[in-house]
């Protein structure tokens, strides 16, 4: 029945939008360089005033880094939907932003100018959660499935990279917790704020 509805929408010439949020949890002190990448991408995006092209390039860099660190992947989760209306897609994307932002505290950082750019060593139980939300046009089978397995997640991240180069991304969000070196995400906080994570 869902496919009949989809064919109907295609017949009417509507664009198919896919919204997908991917959560990835990494563990181990060795993942601290990723925080540097994430913060740099965020800074670049703000300087570019939200230019999707710049944010897309940052997203590609993050995905490539995540793929390199797949040994440290501990758990993951994903969710998403297919929509045929641009306004509804925009609303869903906003909902996901607010939902993602509620998983952590966004406190202003103290002045980082004095801190040397050397990664502080995190404790051995270091946890890092990265949440990526995208909205794109068309179909992307690699994301429209269950990504809670290492192979599927690898394919999913590669698909996101391809989407950027195909110019199909209409919205990108990147959230990460903790915010910077030295902050800690404890196992309890992980369980409480990211309950949907499934061990890989």
């Amino acid at each position: 029945m869902a496919t009949l509805g989809n064919r109907f929408n295609q017949f009417l010439g509507k664009t198919r939008f896919v919204v997908s949020r991917v959560l990835l949890h990494l563990g181990g002190a060795e993942v601290s360089p990723l925080l540097g990448v994430l913060n740099q991408v965020a800074r670049n995006t703000i300087e570019a005033e939200g230019d999707l092209e710049v944010l897309g390039e940052g997203l590609v860099e993050i995905c490539q880094n995540l793929l390199q660190y797949d040994v440290y992947w501990q758990s993951a989760s994903n969710e998403g939907d297919v929509l045929w209306d641009e306004g509804e897609t925009a609303d869903y994307v906003e909902e996901l932003f607010t939902d993602s932002a509620q998983r952590y505290l966004s406190q202003p950082l103290e002045d980082l100018a004095d801190t040397p750019d050397v990664p502080l060593s995190l404790s051995p139980t270091a946890n890092l959660v990265v949440m990526i939300t995208i909205a794109c046009e068309g179909e992307v089978p690699a994301l429209e499935t269950d990504l809670a397995s290492t192979e599927a997640m690898q394919e999913g991240l590669k698909a996101i990279i391809n989407l950027h180069y195909q110019n199909r991304l209409r919205a990108i969000q990147i959230h990460y917790s903790p915010a910077r070196f030295g902050d800690e995400l404890t196992s309890d906080q992980l369980l409480q704020n990211f309950p949907e994570l499934i061990p890989l």
């Binding site: 999707l52 998403g80 306004g87 406190q107 959230h175």
Partner: protein, 300 residues
Amino acid sequence: MLRKFIIVLMSLSLCWTTLACGSSSTTTTSNQTPTQTVSRNRTQANVGEYPVQQAEYNDANGEYSLMLLNTPPGTPPVYRTTNLQMARLTDEQIQAGKGTYAQIQGDQATLYLTEDFKIQYVHNVTETRTDPSTGQQQVVVVRQQSSFWQPFAGAFVGSAIANTLFAPRYYVPPAYQPGGVLTGYGGYGNTYNSAVSDYRSRYNSPPPAVKNRQVLRTTGNIASPSNNRNTRSTSGNIASPSNNRTPSTSRDASRSTGSGVGSSDLQRSNQTRPSRTQKRTPSFGSGRSRSRSGGSRRRR
């Protein structure tokens, strides 16, 4: 029995086609929000070649409005699209008396113009404001300025470069400057995206038609204060639910710190939707419902 079946089938197909035709809607081109959808006005000219009396480009969304002549009765003379390619009329065509004309194919059009044809350029001065009710940032048009754009002004005929001007391509206007006529182009390409990339490489930022559609959202103060030169992060805390918390000394032990950035060029609809009481149920993913118990049923 068969008759009944045929009658039912015929009435169904009638309903089907009526639905298909009746779903288009004309959106008013109010210039309040530049992110307004380009009207897929199916009553505008659909196919054919029409002389063009005048043309306008709106940099809020990159939409061209063409005033066509000799449109068939019942079809309005104004044609609007964002999907427009341009090419210069050859000398032979001009000598034969051909003026600026447009070739229209549905939502896509190609404009063939003379060297001295001027397109009216509507420049939107925009500001990013925060919607008081939702706390989200919106790009709002503050005022409009009008100027002219002459894409093929001063193009030399006979040179190798000039030959490429006769094949239709996508053009992006040069950066807006008040007073005087804008000449030439800011970017070109065989696709709209490559024209935008060309503009980007020239000016180091996207053209206003693209820029005005993108909205940035941030949580947390990501830029370090020492680098803080008019970045958006200062207003970004609006998206953060912890905006009202007391400063960093009191830490909420249930949550760690984090940051987020997002950007989107999706056009928000202006209809007021009923606010969702429940979170949307995803149609695919690793767990069908956001069950806090942790045990998620994986339904196919």
